[in-house]
Every structure is written in C-alpha cells, then in structure tokens.
C-alpha cells in the first residue's frame, strides 16, 4: 500500500473531531474528493447537503459518533492473520433509500474521534453491486487496517483530552 497522511478534516464540531486521509502527492484528501465529486452532480447536490449536515451537525455537534448512528451499515473486514479485525462503517443519512455512502472508522470505538474516507453512490442493493462504491469500500478497509495497525504498534497515539491523534514523536504530521 502506498503511503498516506492522516490529517484533520474538522475539529470545530463540539462532540467529535473528524480526520481524513490523503494519498501521498494528492492535491485533495479523500473526503473532500467525495464531497466535491457528488456536490457537482445535480441529482446528488441535496443528498450531499443532507449527508454533510448529518456528519457535522448531528454527529459532530449534537450526539457524537454514537453506536446508533454508526451501526446502521457496518462491515467487518478480517485482516491478515494476527492483524485482527477492522470495523469500517458506512455513514448513512437516516432516510429512506439514501443514495450515498461515506465510509468511516471510529478510532478505538470512541464517540469523539472519527476518520472519514471516501465513498460513493449506491446504485444497487449491495455494495458489491455498486462497482465504484465497492472499490471505495475496499480502499477504506485498507486505510482502516493500516491505521489500526499503527494504533496497536503505537506509531500513532490518541490524545484523549484533546480529541487528537499524534505521531509517536508527538507531531501532528502523520504519514503512514
């Protein structure tokens, strides 16, 4: 897997800090790519606004990343032997037939620290049937595995009071 940076996407919400990932050399992080892409498509403009409000207002400001908002669509991915398991969730806005999925990892299952990845449009009943979405899900799982590995090995450390992640040397520039 190529290297990527872990960077803050939003730390202004009252109950949760959101991180994102950026491929080395990429101009945009994965979450901005997702929102930019679908915001530019007329049929997705309103769903994008709802999803963003769900992330920043409902999760970020009102409730935090609580189970009920996160477990609606969870896929468990078994990592390589002895690497354990990662749970990558899909953030879905709670509304009938919502067309977009955004993937996320709750750091250590905490309600106040979430890493957002990319996502896509759900064009069939299953993820596997939505080709683009399936690729983003696989990618999100790869990011998640690497991040969980870094947490286990103390390459990165969670500062619980500040709701922030630092490298082992205390830097907020994190490359994995």
């Amino acid at each position: 897997m190529n290297t990527f940076a872990l960077e803050i996407w939003d730390d202004e919400a009252k109950k949760c800090t959101f991180y994102t990932v950026r491929w080395e050399g990429a101009l945009q992080n994965e979450t901005d790519k997702f929102f930019n892409k679908y915001d530019a498509i007329a049929e997705f403009k309103k769903p994008v606004q709802r999803l963003l409000s769900f992330v920043l207002d409902s999760i970020g400001d009102d409730h935090g990343a609580v189970d009920l908002l996160f477990n609606g669509f969870e896929n468990e991915v078994v990592g390589l032997p002895n690497k354990g398991k990662v749970n990558v969730s899909g953030i879905i806005f709670l509304y009938p037939n919502f067309p977009l999925r955004l993937y996320a990892l709750r750091v250590n299952h905490r309600p106040d620290l979430v890493i957002l990845f990319n996502g896509g449009a759900k064009t069939s009943r299953t993820n596997q049937g939505s080709r683009d979405l399936n690729l983003k899900w696989i990618e999100a799982c790869q990011f998640a595995r690497r991040i969980e590995e870094a947490l286990r090995d103390n390459e990165i450390i969670v500062d619980h009071k500040k709701r922030k992640i630092f490298s082992f040397s205390g830097s907020d520039e994190i490359v994995l």
Binding site: E12, T20, F35, D39, K46, V48, S58, H63, P96
Partner: protein, 97 residues
Amino acid sequence: MRSKVAQRIQEETPEEVRIFVRQYTDIVLRINQILQAKGYTQKDLAEKMNKNPSEINKWLRGNHNLTLKTLAKLEAELGEPIITIPTQRPRRSARRA
C-alpha cells in the same frame, strides 16, 4: 479548522435542510433510546402494535419517513414523549411604524 470544501457546501445548504436533518436524527435516536431503556426488542414492539416486524425495523433504522401519526402511535405504546413543543410564546417582532 474545518475543510474548505465542507465550509463551502455548508454555506450553500439551506437552513431548512439542516433543521430537518438534525430533528430527524434526534427523533430516530430518541425512539431507539426509549426502546433500549425499556428493554424492548423490535419484535416486542411489533407484537404490541400488531405490526409486521419489518415495518417496525424501518421505523427504528430510520429507513422510513416518519409521520406525525406514526410518532403518536409510538408515543402511546412506549409511554414516553418523543417530540416536545416549546411552551414559551413566540417572540413578537418589532412593528414597523
């Protein structure tokens, strides 16, 4: 800091959309919390309300556009308020001279 992309989309988002999302999420969470507190399963609730469990699942997973009628049925069955209306009078706006 907040992502500039997020800031831009948030600025373009009509206030009513944000109000809807927040209230809808609050309601779905509230229903689920009452169920948990009372130790009801979806199956229990379905039986009490003479409904199909799949219909109750839609309500509780947020996969349903909740109507006031549905909310009233749920409040009656669960015995707890789900939505409350502010009791204070609305502020008067200043009259133009």
